[in-house]
Amino acid sequence: MSTPALPDAHNPSAKITKKILVLGATSGIAEATCRIWAAQGAQLFLVARNPEKLAAVAADLQTRGASYVGTAVADLDDTGKHAELLSHAINSLTGMDIAYLAYGVLGDQPRAEQDFEHAAQILHSNFVAPVSLLTWLANFCVQRHAGVLAVISSVAGERGRKSNYLYGSSKAGLTAFLAGLRNRIDREGVTVLTIKPGPVATAMTAHMNIKKADVNSVAQAIVKAIDAKRDNLYVPAIFQPIMFVIRNIPDRIFKKLNL
C-alpha cells in the first residue's frame, strides 16, 4: 500500500516515501542500495545479525536522509522466529511496499565437498531460510494485492560449476522458487524480482581475484528494476548474454571446462 506523498527537496522525482524491509542489511549490495533509497527519503527497516555493523549502517542511512530507520538484530537462519520478526518489522514501518532480501552466504566450496554439514548450512542460509521468509511475505502481499519482493539470487544459480556449485545450487533453488512464486502471485498484483548479480566488489568477494562490478552501479540498476516492476535483472547487464551461452554449452563439453 502506498503511503501519502511527501515532497522531497533533494529528489523531486521521489514523490512517495517508500516503506522498505531489508533482510541482510549489512551485505555490501544491500547497503549500497539502501543509500540510494535513503537519499530519496525512504522509510527503512533493517535486519542483520551483527549489532555493531547494523548500527553503523543505520546511522549512515539516517544521516543520508532516510525518513525512518528501524532495526532488528536477528539470525535469519532461525526460521522459527521469522513470523514474529516480519510482523514486528511491518508494524514498525506501518506497512511495506518493498521487501528486499539480500541475505545469504558464499560458503566454502572445497569444505562443502568434504563436509555435508557445511553444504547443508549453505543450502539452509541461501535457500531454506529465504523460502520461509518469502512464504510469509508473499502471503502478506497477496492479502493486500500490492508489494514488490526483490530477492538477490546469483548468476551462479544458472549452471553448476565446479568452483562453487554448492553456492550455485542453493541460488538455483532460490531462482526456481522465485519463478514459481511469481507465476502464482504476479496476478495478485505482487511483483517478484529475481536479481542475478555477477561478481560485485563487496566484503563477500574481497578475497576473489577476478573482475568485479562496482557496487554502486549494481545498486542503481536494482533500484531501477524495482521501480520498473521487472521480473528478472542480470547485473551487470552483460551477464544476460554470458549466461545464455553458459547455459547452452552441451555437458559433453562443459564437463571438461574449468569454470
Binding site: H10, T26, R49, K53, A59, R64, P110, A203, N209
Partner: protein, 465 residues
C-alpha cells in the same frame, strides 16, 4: 585446497574477517614510483581493525585511495589496510556543519552528500579522490591556505585505534599530543576509525573566477598582496621558458559565488586516460608548446567568469588515471614550502635550476601559504611560498636533479612534502622535520611505511634509478 577434520570450525559468511587479496592488482601510489609488492587487506567495518592484523607478523600501513605520489602510502612486502570500504556517515549537524564519518569516505563522497545540502569542504586538495583519513594523515592543504589553514584545522576530533586495540578520542583538549601526532602523522600512529569535519556553507556550485597573467616572481608577489582577501588563490607557472618569459604564469583566484544557484551533485567523470603513454611523449618541446598555448589560452591578460567548482578545484579529476600520461616508469613530484624570509630568492634559484634541466612538465603550481599554524607535529605547510612540479622519471637524470633541488630547498630554509615525495634523503627529512624523533614515539609499533623506513634509515641510503 584440501581440508582435514582438524580444521577449526569456522563457518565462512559475509562477516568473516577480511582475507588478503593475492597477486595483482598491485597497490600503486599516484606517481607509480616506486612499485612495491604488498598484501592488500580491505577494511569494511571499524571492527575489522585490529582484527585484520591477527596471525600476521608483517608490518602494516593504513591506506586510502593511493593519491599520495611517492612511498608514503606504500609498504614493501607488508600489509596495506585499505580503508575505502569504511565509508559510512555517522552524523551531520546542519546547524554547525559538522560531519562525522568513517575515515575511508572520499572527499568526492562527502561532496555528493554535502553540496546538495548547501555545504562544501573546508579545505580541498586538487583531487577529490582522497579519503578523509588520508587528508588528515597528510594534513593536506588547498588553494585557501591563507584564510583557512590546512585540513587538520577543520577536524575537531577523531578516534584513533592502535594495533593493540586501545582506542583514543583525540581533540585539542582530549589526548592533545596524540591529536597533534596523528594530523600529518602519515598513518603511522594508528588507524583513524572515524573523524569529524567542519564543513562550510555555500549557496551555489559556482566560483567567481579571475585569471591574471603575470611575468616573474615579483609580479606574482604583487598579485598575492593585492588579492589577499580572496578565498582561493593558486598560480600555474611555466617552468620551461627562460629569458623574458622566465616564470611567467597565470594567477587564478576564486570565491564561492554569493548569488544563490543550483546545488545539484556532480556527474561521474567519463574520460579515462586509456594507456601508458610512451616515454618520449613528454619532452621539452611538447611541454614548451603546451605552456605557450596554456599561457595565452585566456586571450587577454585578465579575465573574469563564473566557473563550476569541479573544473576550478579538480581540473584533472575529469580524466581518470591521468598519471598514465607519464608512461610506465611513472612520475615524481617535487613540492617545497620556503619561509618568507628567503622565499623569493629560493624560488627564483630553484626555478632557474629546473628550467636549465629541461625536465619540467606542465603541471606546475605556485602558491603562498598563509600564517595559520598547522595543528600537526609533522605538518608540511608553513608561511611562505609553496611550489609543486611533476617530473617524468628519466633514469640517471631525474633523481640527481631532485637531489640538488632538495639540497637547495634545505639551504633556503624550506622543507619538502612527504605526501609528494619519493626522493628526499634521511638527512634532508630529519632537517626538514626536526620533530621527527618526538613523533616517532607516537608511531604504532605494528605500523610503518616505505617512506618512514627510508627517511629514518640511519645508513643514509639514497634512492637510485
Amino acid at each position: 585446497m584440501s581440508l582435514s577434520a582438524a580444521e577449526p570450525e569456522v563457518l565462512p559468511t559475509t562477516s568473516t574477517p577480511p582475507e588478503p587479496v593475492a597477486g595483482p592488482p598491485q597497490f600503486e601510489s599516484w606517481g607509480r614510483y616506486p612499485k612495491y609488492g604488498a598484501r592488500v587487506v580491505p577494511l569494511h567495518w571499524q571492527s575489522d581493525f585490529p582484527a585484520a592484523l591477527q596471525g600476521s607478523y608483517d608490518s602494516a600501513l593504513p591506506v586510502g585511495l593511493g593519491r599520495s605520489y611517492g612511498d608514503v602510502c606504500l609498504l614493501k612486502d607488508g600489509t596495506l589496510l585499505q580503508t575505502t570500504g569504511m565509508n559510512r556517515l555517522i552524523d551531520f549537524d546542519p546547524a554547525t556543519g559538522i560531519l562525522t564519518a568513517e575515515s575511508g569516505i572520499s572527499l568526492a563522497q562527502i561532496l555528493d552528500f554535502a553540496v546538495r545540502r548547501g555545504f562544501f569542504l573546508p579545505v580541498t586538495p586538487g583531487t577529490k579522490y582522497v579519503t578523509l583519513g588520508g587528508a588528515i594523515a597528510n594534513d593536506i592543504h588547498g588553494k585557501n591556505h591563507e584564510v583557512a589553514g590546512s585540513f587538520g584545522n577543520h577536524v575537531p576530533c577523531f578516534e584513533l585505534v592502535r594495533s593493540d586495540g586501545t582506542r583514543r578520542l583525540c581533540s585539542r583538549t582530549e589526548n592533545p599530543d596524540w591529536y597533534a601526532a596523528t594530523i600529518g602523522g602519515m598513518g603511522l600512529t594508528g588507524l583513524i576509525a572515524w573523524a569529524q569535519l567542519r564543513l562550510r556553507p555555500i549557496v551555489s556550485r559556482g566560483i567567481d573566477y579571475e585569471g591574471i597573467q603575470f611575468h616573474g616572481i615579483d609580479e606574482f608577489l604583487e598579485l598575492k598582496q593585492k588579492y589577499h582577501d580572496v578565498e582561493y588563490t593558486v598560480s600555474w607557472v611555466d617552468c620551461v621558458s627562460t629569458g623574458k618569459n622566465f616564470a611567467r604564469g597565470i594567477f587564478m583566484l576564486g570565491n564561492h559565488a554569493k548569488v544563490p544557484g543550483e546545488l545539484k551533485p556532480s556527474p561521474e567523470p567519463k574520460l579515462v586516460f586509456p594507456f601508458d603513454a610512451p616515454a618520449f611523449a613528454l619532452n621539452r618541446f611538447s611541454v614548451s608548446a603546451f605552456n605557450t598555448v596554456y599561457f595565452h589560452k585566456q586571450g587577454k591578460a585578465h579575465v573574469k567568469a563564473v566557473h563550476d567548482y569541479e573544473p576550478f578545484f579538480y581540473p584533472l579529476d575529469a580524466v581518470l588515471h591521468w598519471n598514465r600520461m607519464y608512461g610506465k616508469r611513472g612520475l615524481v613530484q617535487f613540492q617545497y614550502a620556503i619561509p618568507w624570509e628567503r622565499a623569493k630568492e629560493g624560488t627564483i634559484a630553484i626555478l632557474r635550476e629546473i628550467a636549465k634541466s629541461g625536465l619540467a612538465s606542465f603541471l606546475a603550481v605556485l602558491k603562498a601559504f598563509g600564517d595559520i599554524p598547522s595543528l600537526g607535529m609533522m605538518s608540511f605547510p608553513q608561511a611562505g611560498i609553496m611550489f609543486a612540479l611533476d617530473f617524468p622519471i628519466k633514469p640517471g637524470i631525474t633523481f640527481p636533479l631532485l637531489q640538488r633541488l632538495g639540497d637547495m630547498t634545505l639551504d633556503y630554509g624550506g622543507r619538502l612534502y612527504p605526501a609528494k615525495d619519493a626522493a628526499m634523503t634521511a638527512a634532508q627529512f630529519q632537517t626538514f622535520y626536526p620533530a621527527w624523533q618526538r613523533f616517532a614515539r607516537f608511531r604504532d609499533p605494528m605500523l610503518t611505511s616505505s617512506f618512514w623506513e627510508r627517511v629514518t634509515d640511519s645508513t643514509g641510503a639514497r634512492p637510485t634509478l
